[in-house]
Symmetry: C2
Subunit: 328 residues, 2 copies
């Protein structure tokens, strides 16, 4: 069986969602729930973000979770040092490689990116920590630029390389092609994918990346993040449950609803009705044709078993819709 | 250029969402907005659902919209007759073809399905109306069963056949395979796709269907529907805008936000933060790295131009997150 790591970035990408203002206590509760559920990595912001972030990171590391805590860190010496000074398991480095980000964000040439990243990767490896390097905006990056940077960081000893669809432009087919190419070229490192949802394909793209060879998938609770977010944990779990159930063997799926509900409460929102598994109506059947069949056998209109997630089915036979299509 | 019809089913699939209780006035306003936006088909429930539904259908037909109004009707004689008695442009017939639906929903054998549907299709054609036949739960149906039914209905003169992923189990790859096969076998009829979101891939599956040969895509406003819904209109529009902009030439995209907001108000909910284009934060940038670059050039972290949708960008420089990653 192939291995698959889920990386939850609720405390990093999720904190970039406009409604997120987690307290320390909330951060601790979220990582405890993520750890109980069984995610492999928990991503936290860079400790240089604020003194409060640094304290939260230390508090989270002190919990001695099974999940590995990784800090999301720019390829800047001071930032790397600050992360190494905490108890994190590893560092997730990132650097924009597209023309757009090179022009409007950091202004570096491609050679400069490799030149900046390589010594930092060596230093992190020497410090005995895990290190990943991600090419921000990979899906708008020129392939030669991308490979030039990846060649250098793989050579420097990075353990995983990341392909984020930073602006949410990719299709499942494009993800398949690029991830396959990268997986073939770099067979000795892990591959991570991170998909934004601007065109509504974050979950599909993330699963496509896995099928093409990625071994680490980024998610957040309920998909919260910059703009309209990234792949949701519940979406990826629903996919794995249907198509690759063995990969969920070590997960405690009954934690999922509590986790989504907890974060929704922190944000003062409801779990959106379109969330796989955790939406309040994910297992509610309303049309007469549906309710009639589901009462005979839920499998008629259900592919996920609510019991496996500790939730209950609701068959709406009381509404004005009961009669709809209920005749035949 | 290939042609593409968008079918909006907010008044039918959308009414199966647990929170939906549209008044007649709201239904009329929704179809007016859909018509202004430019969708090809507007799907309404079967007039036998209730006297109130029948009245709503008549009121909608009387508006003389550019959009074609189609009724979603079981393959039952009385239902077909009732629909023909209204002013609808056409009838969207459906019949469950999977073992699950044949066993737990209607109890019919495959031969019986074709036998029931064929005379109804002929009758609708003779009445000079448009007719589509959809194999409910197509993605759990045996291929021989599916083709047996489609062979019969195509032979009977149906103008379009539908492939709904009724339980939300399909992947973009599976959709690609099945739609391609069907498009090759039936080159003279249109092909419709309808994708549920149980595993979070409704939008990706719907676009995959288009790329494989479907010429009619089902959506609802904000993706509302049974359980956790189907592909959202805004999701499909965001995909077309990026990958097939010519197909949107006749659309008035500035109607989209008003439409989503109107339906959200009807349902007494907020537009979910994960909606493409219409989410309140779809064009909000928060992390320091992002805001800095976006202030230089929005293209750095934006692939959709908010102006085209009549909305404005928000750069969040006032929060406690301003400093995050803002250094380099
Ligand atoms: O470091 C990464 O791989 C992802 C960074 C990020 O949030 C993005 O590019 O969208
Ligand atoms: O008639 C159709 O194509 C779709 C019916 C429906 O809502 C479904 O199968 O999910
Ligand atoms: Cu991101
Ligand atoms: Cu449906």
């Amino acid at each position: 069986m192939r291995s698959l790591a889920i990386l939850d970035s609720t405390l990093r990408e999720g904190e970039q969602f406009i409604k997120t203002f987690f307290t320390l206590e909330q951060r601790v509760m979220i990582v405890r729930l993520l750890d109980r559920l069984g995610v492999t990595f928990i991503e936290v912001p860079s400790p240089v973000s604020s003194p409060e972030t640094r304290e939260a990171i230390e508090a989270i590391c002190a919990l001695n979770l099974r999940s590995h805590v990784v800090a999301h860190v720019r390829c800047v010496e001071a930032d790397v040092q600050a992360a190494l000074d905490t108890g994190v398991y590893g560092l997730n480095l990132f650097f924009g490689t597209s023309n757009e980000l090179r022009s409007y964000s950091h202004g570096r040439k491609i050679e400069q990116i490799a030149h900046d990243a390589v010594p930092l990767i060596r230093r992190i490896r020497e410090a005995g920590r895990y290190v990943r390097f991600s090419a921000e905006d990979a899906f708008r990056s020129d392939l030669v630029d991308l490979l030039t940077v990846f060649d250098a960081v793989v050579d420097a000893g990075v353990e995983r390389i990341g392909l984020p669809d930073t602006v949410g432009i990719a299709t499942p087919r494009q993800v398949d092609r690029l991830v396959s190419l990268i997986a073939n070229r770099y067979p000795n490192v892990g591959i991570e994918f991170h998909g934004h949802n601007d065109t509504g394909c974050a979950i599909a793209n993330t699963i496509s990346a896995f099928e093409a060879g990625a071994d680490c998938l980024d998610v957040t609770v309920m998909g919260i993040g910059e703009r309209n977010g990234i792949a949701s944990l519940s979406g990826i779990i629903s996919q794995l449950y249907i198509h690759y159930p063995d990969l969920l063997a070590a997960y405690d799926l009954t934690q999922l609803v509590e986790l989504d509900q907890y974060v929704a409460d922190c944000l003062n929102i409801n779990i959106p009705y379109n969330m796989p598994i955790t939406a309040p109506s994910a297992f509610t059947h309303r049309a007469g044709v549906h309710t009639k069949a589901v009462l005979r056998n839920p499998h008629a209109y259900e592919i996920l078993n609510p019991t496996d997630f500790g939730v209950v089915r609701h068959v709406d036979v009381g509404s004005r819709f009961t009669g709809r299509y209920a005749v035949g």
